[in-house]
Homo-oligomer: 235 residues x 2
């Protein structure tokens, strides 16, 4: 649309951006964890937040790799998308791009459990009840925190209770540089909508409220904050 | 597109159709069965087959109600869509429209199990494993078969093994008038693609192969077969 063209030009006009030429890896969307060829576990992530982040980063001149779970969204202009389905696929692809990355933003809602057994054939329904044993998937963010060198690592925390407290704990426990906290129980925040409302907390101690606005606006604010953070470290 | 416009005109030209003015209920898409506000069980149905059926039925002059689980597809022109999420929602909506229906085509891939407990708050991941107890959902097709009066009732069977045999058993067990059998292990058949390959089996004993073609073409053939079936009964 014409609005997107103008916005893109506005993003470009803000250059020379700190992001120009930076390698940015963004993850987005849900993952799917199969029980059989037909049935799977997933979650309500639409991918919109991650795709908005990838789009804005590309507009700001970064080299953007978007590692995406299943999503009906179009690939933003100038972004390289890598499609994955499972948490395991996503882990492998993120690791493969981690070493070269300057900034990594994990906006995907990766399944934290998957069925222990995936059946090759569609299960027949027979019994009145079914017990599905689930096991933990790889904790990608934790693994990235442990391997962190030059990367500025940003996680998301989607919570329905005590959002701020859980978010802070996640920042510490996973050795992140920043965490963006969504209270998904709030109207207008979270998964499927076009708007979001969030709190940015950084290891350096920055705490910023990002008031309710479009996911693109949230993405712009996020990169302004990251730029301040990165400049702060260099001074 | 121009092709759709031409096809639509061609469908209309085939009128006066047997379907003109008939009340047709079509179900489509997957259902979602929540474990908590974020996580859910679902399946790989795209809704494309059901939406194609609804579109062709409307083109042929029927009054079409499309009861649809979550799908990114657009509502076909002239079709009334009712959105549902769970198997339970779908059951209620189908029942509400059943009495007035002349033809009911259940193309939805309704979840047959749902978590016994749906948590109000997002579950925290903690343990290394998680046991999810699932219970059967209402068998909608079976319930419709039991309540059947004037309705011509069509089910789908998506199978990966012994497709034909399971399909025939389903026809009998659920008191259907016809069943369309997909072997979803075949290339080009089944959930997410634009094509399908199927076998139509009716209570009257008709067995027709519907060779690999677009889901719209499959829908056209389906209505030709239903028309023959309905005329056969009246003679």
């Amino acid at each position: 649309s014409i609005i997107e063209v103008i916005e893109k030009q506005m993003d470009a006009d803000e250059s020379p951006s700190y992001l120009r030429g930076k390698q940015i890896v963004v993850t987005a969307g849900p993952t799917r964890e199969s029980l059989d060829p037909v049935r799977f576990f997933t979650n309500r992530s639409s991918g919109k937040m991650g795709y908005a982040i990838a789009e804005i980063a590309a507009n700001l001149g970064a080299h953007v790799t978007l590692i995406s779970g299943p999503s009906p969204l179009d690939v933003p202009h100038g972004v390289k998308r890598i499609d994955v389905e499972t948490a395991e696929d996503m882990y492998k692809e993120v690791l493969r791009h981690y070493e070269q990355a300057d900034i990594v933003i994990k906006a995907a809602a990766v399944a934290d459990y998957r069925p222990k057994i995936t059946f090759d054939q569609k299960m027949k329904k027979q019994e009145e009840s079914l017990v599905v044993e689930m096991e933990r998937t790889q904790d990608i963010l934790k693994a990235l925190g442990e391997k962190k060198e030059q990367q500025y690592l940003v996680g998301f925390a989607a919570e329905t209770t005590n959002a701020l407290q859980y978010g802070k704990e996640k920042l510490d426990r996973k050795n992140l540089d920043a965490v963006i906290i969504n209270d998904v129980s709030q109207e207008g925040a979270g998964f499927s909508g076009d708007t979001n409302e969030a709190t940015f907390i950084s290891k350096q101690g920055r705490v910023e409220q990002l008031p309710l606005s479009s996911k693109r606006q949230i993405a712009r604010q996020l990169f302004s904050l990251i730029e301040e953070e990165l400049k702060g470290v260099e001074q």
